[in-house]
Amino acid sequence: MLVLALDTATPAVTAGVVTLDDEGPRLLAERVTVDAKAHGELLTPHLRDALAEAGAGMGDVDAIVCGVGPGPFTGLRAGMVTAAALADALEVPAYPVCSLDAIAADVPGEAPLLVVTDARRREVYWASYLAGNRVEGPRVQRPAELLAELGSVTRVAGGGVSLCEFPAAVEVVGTAQPSPVGLVRAAGSPVLEGAAPAPLTPLYLRRPDAVEPGARKRVSQA
């Protein structure tokens, strides 16, 4: 089956066409641009161009897999509403995937793994994995707090790694952002089985910055 995979939870605008069968996912074409301000502009053209390179059209798509964050607000929504609209128009299911899980899915091996991405405002999103399964997270924290809490870390992945001062012995593995194949792999067997997808719910992990107004300010001198 032909799967359209997309993610806008990191500074990358990620679009890919993946073929999926019992052997697992295989990349046919991808378009990735790292530009945190270009999600809205480039995502749909990237999807169109990747499909064209794969020799396919929108009508050939059997399923969509979409990273649902955690991601810093605005760009994340560009990907999610694109996935929702494509699924609606093409009448295919759209499967949500935690974007950190997709990064983890690209890292081979059973050893413990920490995935960290940039949450801006001097914080990181993170989740930890053992034998490919998420055991903690996703959460948002300051890097120092994360390091203090975790204790031993042996392997790390994700674009937030450079924001944390890991000990020199820690091995950096994997990619900075989810890949199309990682997204499809993380979405797991429901895609191939054609199971009903979970709702596309964004993982914001933060409340909106909004404060209720206090007593009104006076304009005249008391």
């Binding site: 999600h39 749909t44 605005t74 929504r77 929702a84 609209a85 609606d88 209720e212 005249s220």
Partner: protein, 349 residues
């Protein structure tokens, strides 16, 4: 069934709007559906629109609102011939949701996409109720985010700004004055209601930008808002009760007076025979009554769409798309992006 179906998507502020219109070769634009999901109640406790809250609500509401519009029109997505979407002006994060959705729908359905100006949409709203606009006409757009006088020569290609607010939008002044008077958000309807019991001549609030040296078609509502605050505070200091109805009526009179006086003067000076008033504040009863009175006296035809079409909606965006289609305008590229500061003369991108 003849004609082309145009889908319109609006997400520039706190309303997720999806509208459908049918346009035939004669230029007639028929309203088929106009569905809106508003997040206004989520913003009420903050006293104004919170962009992140609005953007989150757009994401949740987009596909359900689309489905409601299609059901209302008894159409399927496959029946859609073109898509128009607000690409500015507005809140960046909010616009992004509508633009991204429109691009995905356009790519999936393989139909042309038009990124259009929200303000042109407010003008086009009137065509859904009263038919084609005379050329030229003058438009007064008044809402929580905009206060502008526009000369409209061609809805699809030529709109020129004659004047605009130099500070607050008219609707913003309503929200701030409502807060001063302990009335709920948004401030337009409760002030309008309170004003009905009050005397519009009770307090002489200032008419902004009406001095001989002021730009004759620009507006200012910040000073008015401050004058109301000073007056209310003085009352409170003296221990007297604030006469809410009189303050509301006198404030509303000042707003309606300036807006209509400038609009009528612009129409007269430019020799334009038709005035369209649109935007959320157009629903204000005093503004429409005074505009009717002054337009009649000046021999100007007044057109005000029904309140449902005055506030933000997707049908008005579909109507702009219909006019672009009729005019043979080039569609937007799929690289279309939101432009929060899109100037009014850029009708399509």
């Amino acid at each position: 069934m003849t004609g082309k179906v145009v889908l319109g998507i609006e997400s520039s502020c706190d309303e997720t709007g999806v509208g459908l219109v049918r346009v035939d070769n004669s230029g007639a634009v028929e309203l088929l559906a106009d569905e809106v999901a508003s997040s206004v109640e989520l913003h009420a406790r903050y006293g104004g629109v919170v962009p992140e809250v609005a953007s989150r609500a757009h994401l949740e509401a987009m596909v359900p609102t689309m489905h409601r519009a299609l059901r209302t029109a008894d159409l399927r997505l496959a029946d859609v011939d073109a898509i128009a979407v607000t690409c500015g002006p507005g809140l960046a994060g909010a616009l992004l949701v509508g633009v991204s959705a429109a691009k995905a729908y356009a790519a999936a359905l393989d139909v042309p996409l038009y990124g259009v100006n929200h303000l042109a949409g407010h003008v086009a709203a009137d065509t859904l109720e009263h038919g084609p606009l005379p050329k030229p006409c003058l438009a007064l757009l008044v809402s929580g985010g905009h206060s502008q006088l526009l000369r409209v020569d061609e809805l699809a290609s030529k709109i020129t700004e004659i004047g605009s607010t130099i500070d607050d939008a008219a609707g913003e002044a309503y929200d701030k004055v409502a807060r001063l008077l302990d009335l709920p958000y948004p401030g337009g309807p409760p002030i309008d209601k309170a004003a009905r019991e009050g005397d519009p001549r009770a307090i002489a609030f200032p008419r902004g930008m009406t001095g001989p040296r002021d730009a004759k078609f620009d507006f200012s509502f910040s000073g008015l808002k401050t004058a109301v605050a000073r007056w209310v505070e003085a009352r409170e200091r003296s221990g007297e009760a604030v006469p809410v109805a009189d303050v509301a009526a006198s404030f509303q009179e000042a707003v309606a007076d300036v807006l209509t006086a400038k609009a009528v003067r612009a129409a007269e000076e430019l020799g334009i025979g038709t005035l369209v008033i649109s935007g959320g504040v157009a629903a204000n009863s005093r503004l429409s009554a005074l505009a009717a009175e002054r337009c009649a006296a000046a021999g100007i035809q007044l057109r005000v769409p029904r309140p449902r079409l005055c506030t933000d909606n997707g049908a008005m965006i579909a109507a702009v798309g219909a006019h672009l289609l009729l005019a043979g305008s080039a569609p937007s590229s799929l690289e279309l992006s939101a432009n929060p500061a899109l100037p009014v003369h850029t009708i399509s991108v």
